[in-house]
């Protein structure tokens, strides 16, 4: 192992950013405007703010810190102040970068990770980003060139939105920050709604709101002389030539283990103690085991449990806690909890969501905060990077069935797919077979794997009002994903195509955003994702697909690389995706809970205008009976409810407190 410099404390975590740039025809930004914007992000950084205002530009950050900064509340700058930066995120290899930069003659005045950015920019201009191992949303102002640079990390871990309004560019970590500005329109974009109710998220670069864009993952925007330029600097990439067939499983496993140890070690660097989430599944078990086996960090772990057996993984969590001997906190999330906190969840997700799964994570991050922790390591990303999702297996089976469409034996493999669900598409026998044979007309498209999910989600469109139907009709269909796909994707291995589509929809648009960053930041917690270390992502892109899913064994290579490091029972455990009770959380004794009933009343639905009140009423009745509710109805219900909340809180301007 290469020698690592002795760990030194970093000074501040910048956790929220915002800014204004006058493009030429607008007014110069004022401190007051910036204060309003950054104040909306105080949950991300409750320990103080920093401002920089100079001519056409204004930058602000909200700080989550441990040691007080000497010298006031400024953003970070280079030696002569000509480069200023605010950023939300973490640069995990900052110690190595700093050592290198000091050798190149740069002088540092803080001990923060932020400062490497300005010096790297001095060395490499826009290419500085390629040197960063981290998760980040960066705003950099080059005074000499009068140029603003916005950069977002490769996987989309940290958010960044922007809009053009009255001759200025506004940007911020969250939409609520932009919406503090008077006169700025706040309207849900019907096309984005159509996209969420198909793809589970607005397609890049859309946000939920008209005229506001999300900076896509792996992209940067430069603004000079009033002109915006969007560029991509990184993307998931799986060309066949990159796949290495010359290594044994053992060799792959060893290299992967080394990489993961490094990814975890870098993410333990902190002034403050670091905790970890334990879901009971493979991914978080790997992270915590690596911490346990290869570092001196004493483990502090946190997990969520549910009353319903269908969702609860407590017994697996306990097993791991015993194996690791950690200091553990277990939080039970009830249906009542979800029903109660859901408005605040949407206040933070700022998006329509189709599952309640983010909600328990907000409860969890609250406990983390109350336990005195500010940073947690978590296992998101492993399924995307190593082929863990059922959607990948499903696609493999569907392609397998397609090879002999009249075979009656082939579909029986479908029964093996969903052991964890009580009522699953696969249990319908002959109907299950038909379900999986749907979408065969898409067999040659790069999004073939996603057709069943998108078809199911799309059933929600029957709840759209005539107005909304009219606004989306013809504008959103499966092929809408095609402009986002690389030109050579058809030549890739099929699993890699599936991964690409998944990473550009579910991962960045929903999981990392709504479930990851927003739920942790709601309680000022910083999440760190070792599986989304870009070196791991790039390494995994070269793994032959049959080592990712070996026959039907998902994440095969990842599991092989961890043999002996985690309990066998967990290594061999059937995949159980993290889920929470959905529509059931909003009903008690056969009736919708109060705020839900009020929000989904005919009057409210008509006023908001997105959904058909007659259809929603019937859905409410169906959900209230407590009968089996399938995926489609659950998604529709949670999607309708969260959209109405978005409308109430953002479009109509109510606070989330109005619901409690």
């Amino acid at each position: 192992m290469p020698r690592r410099p002795r760990s030194r404390p970093s000074e501040n975590f910048m956790c929220g950013i915002s800014g204004i740039l006058n493009l030429g025809h607008g007014a110069a930004p004022s401190r007051g405007e910036l204060e309003a914007m950054i104040h909306a992000l105080r949950h991300r950084g409750p320990d103080g703010y920093g401002f920089f205002v100079d001519g056409p530009v204004g930058l602000a950050h909200a700080r989550l810190s441990i040691i007080d900064l000497e010298g006031g509340d400024q953003p970070i700058h280079n030696e002569d102040g000509s480069v200023q930066v605010v950023f939300n995120g973490e640069i995990f290899n900052f110690l190595e970068l700093r050592e290198e930069l000091e050798k190149q003659g740069h002088h540092f005045y803080t001990r923060s990770d932020t400062e490497v950015i300005v010096h790297l920019y001095e060395e490499y201009a826009d290419d500085f980003v390629h040197h960063l191992v981290g998760q980040f949303a960066i705003a950099l102002w080059d005074t000499r060139r009068q140029r603003l640079l916005l950069v977002r990390d490769r996987a989309g871990i940290r958010p960044l939105y922007y809009t053009l309004f009255q001759g200025r560019l506004y940007f911020a970590s969250e939409l609520k920050s932009l919406f503090t500005q008077p006169g700025m329109a706040r309207e849900l974009d019907p096309v984005a709604l159509g996209e969420v109710f198909t793809f589970w998220c607005p397609l890049e670069p859309h946000s939920m709101f008209r005229d506001v864009q999300a900076l896509p993952a792996g992209h940067c925007i430069s603004v000079e002389r009033g002109k915006l330029q969007l560029d991509r600097y990184w993307d998931w990439n799986f060309p066949r030539e990159q796949i290495r067939n010359d290594r044994s499983v053992g060799e792959w496993a060893e290299q992967l283990r080394e990489l993961m140890i490094d990814a975890v070690r870098l993410r333990l660097r902190s002034d403050v103690p670091v905790g970890a989430y334990l879901s009971g599944g493979l991914d978080s078990s790997i992270i915590t085991s690596l911490i346990h086996n290869f570092t001196d960090t004493s483990l502090r772990t946190f997990s969520i449990g549910f009353e319903d057996e269908e969702f609860d993984e407590s017994s697996f969590q306990k097993e791991l806690v015993n194996y690791l001997d950690t200091d553990h906190t277990h939080v039970t999330c009830t249906r009542n909890d979800i029903g109660r906190i859901f408005p605040r969840v949407i206040w933070h997700t700022e998006s329509t969501i189709l599952r309640t799964a983010p909600a328990p994570l907000m409860l969890l991050s609250q406990h983390v905060r109350e336990s005195g922790y500010k940073v947690v390591l978590t296992g998101e990303g492993a399924d995307e990077v190593f082929g863990g999702y059922d959607i990948f297996k499903e696609a493999k089976i569907r392609r397998f069935c397609h090879r002999a469409p009249n075979s009656s034996l082939r579909p029986q493999i479908l029964q093996r797919l969903y052991p964890y669900l009580k009522y699953s598409p696969a249990s319908g026998g002959a109907f299950g077979k038909q379900f999986f044979q749907q979408g065969m007309e898409y067999i040659d498209t790069p999004f073939f794997a996603h057709v069943p999910r998108w078809s199911t989600t799309r059933r929600s469109w029957k709840f759209f009002s005539e107005e909304l139907k009219g606004a989306v009709s013809g504008k959103v269909d499966f092929e809408s994903i095609c402009p986002l796909l690389p030109p050579d994707i058809d030549s890739w291995e099929s699993l890699n195509r599936d991964q690409y589509v998944e990473n550009h929809t579910l991962l960045s648009g929903y999981l990392l955003n709504s479930q990851g960053d927003r739920m942790a930041m709601a309680n000022s917690i910083e999440g760190r994702f070792p599986f989304l270390d870009h070196r791991v992502m790039e390494f995994a892109a070269g793994i032959p697909p049959h080592y990712k899913i070996r026959v039907l064994n998902e994440k095969y290579l990842l599991k092989e690389s961890m043999k002996g490091l985690i309990p066998e029972s967990i290594r061999r455990r059937n995949k159980q995706p993290y889920r929470a009770p959905d529509s059931q959380s909003f009903f008690r004794d056969g009736k919708a809970i109060d705020w839900v009933r009020d929000l989904l009343s005919e009057a409210e639905l008509r006023q908001a205008g997105y959904f058909n009140p007659v259809a929603v009423e019937k859905l409410l009745k169906k959900c209230a009976t407590g009968r089996v509710i399938g995926f489609a109805d659950n998604m529709a219900f949670v999607g309708i409810l969260s959209t109405m909340l978005l409308d109430k809180m953002f479009v109509q301007g109510y606070s989330s407190d109005a619901f409690t």
């Binding site: 699953s424 109907f431 299950g432």
Partner: protein, 81 residues
């Protein structure tokens, strides 16, 4: 109410979420038209057993018996004889 009316009512209410009778034809294939997904088929089976007091065997849970209003009506008639 005839069994046809009961079945139509159940489908319109719970899968089409509408009162508009013209949205459902008795010959419409539930799967082809996307009226029911696979979970929906399970719900229909429960409904039929509850409402009409019959028991559906595993090998009877096939599209021929269940995939449209007309087919369900015919199937129920056969079972009740």
């Amino acid at each position: 109410m005839s069994s046809e009316e009961k079945i139509r009512g159940f489908i319109l209410e719970n899968y089409l979420f509408t009162d508009d009778q013209s949205e459902l034809n008795n010959d419409d294939s539930f799967l082809d038209q996307g009226i029911l997904d696979s979970t929906g088929i399970l719900e229909i089976i429960f409904f039929i057993e509850d409402e009409f007091g019959i028991k559906i065997k595993d090998d009877e849970m096939v599209p021929d018996n269940l995939d449209s209003v007309n087919r369900i009506v015919a199937f129920i008639e056969k079972k009740q004889q």
